[in-house]
Symmetry: C2
Subunit: 162 residues, 2 copies
Amino acid sequence: MADLHREIAAGVRLGPIGVVRSRFKEPADLPPPLFAPPRFFERSTGQIEVFPEFAAGLDGLEGFSHIIVLFHFHKAGAAKLEVVPPGETKPRGVFATRSPHRPNPLGMSVLRLLARDGPVLEVSGLDLVDGTPVFDIKPYTGRDRKSHVRTGWLRKQRRPAR
Amino acid sequence: MADLHREIAAGVRLGPIGVVRSRFKEPADLPPPLFAPPRFFERSTGQIEVFPEFAAGLDGLEGFSHIIVLFHFHKAGAAKLEVVPPGETKPRGVFATRSPHRPNPLGMSVLRLLARDGPVLEVSGLDLVDGTPVFDIKPYTGRDRKSHVRTGWLRKQRRPAR
């Protein structure tokens, strides 16, 4: 059954619709979220520049407080099925982590939308490096906000909501 | 500048790591979220079958209450930059909606993880059709749960959180 579906759905090729502008120039400039000072990322601002031919797709987004950004982990290197998260000693399945070393190098961040100036989105909460290719932007809605969240091995998480 | 980045980041090819099993066989079987009866999707259960060669990537996921699923809108057809959302009359930019007709046909749903049986995840909150190719699974954490959410044109949303 799985093989059948792999034939039917052979995959898809994605191209960027925009790019991230960030003061973090390299992955090493970004602290792992668990080790960042309190409110570090809340104060981290930057831009998403949507390419002109896609700018019409942003109309109406300015009314939303938060956006979901799907992006390319373009500096991730090889995929792994198990990774050792920062500050941990035990390997975890990559799908139980937010590691960039994924079979499909897709990242997802929820950012605060501060303003829109035509094709440029001013955002905070930015945890992405400069030049990150953006594949999609979606409005964050009440259905994305879950209650009674358990976070498994991620016990040291210091900021349960922001 | 944008052109430069488009040359550097020419895109990426994705392949499915698993497939959705759902009682919704076609998109027409799925009510638009705004028109679904209260708690309709909470009661909607199904499975995500991860292909055997990726199953090791799930280790540790069972401790999380919710998962982020990135999937292929494989029945979406042509992309559009403006769409008229269900129940609306005014066109909106596609990036201000959760429409499947996106330049990159990527979907994102947050599902409740009920149980894991090896490579099979039992989930609820399922709003996906049977056979949907899955590109990535991530744990949902406190950083994905935002407060003071404004949802722009989506004023009729009846269930602000679930």
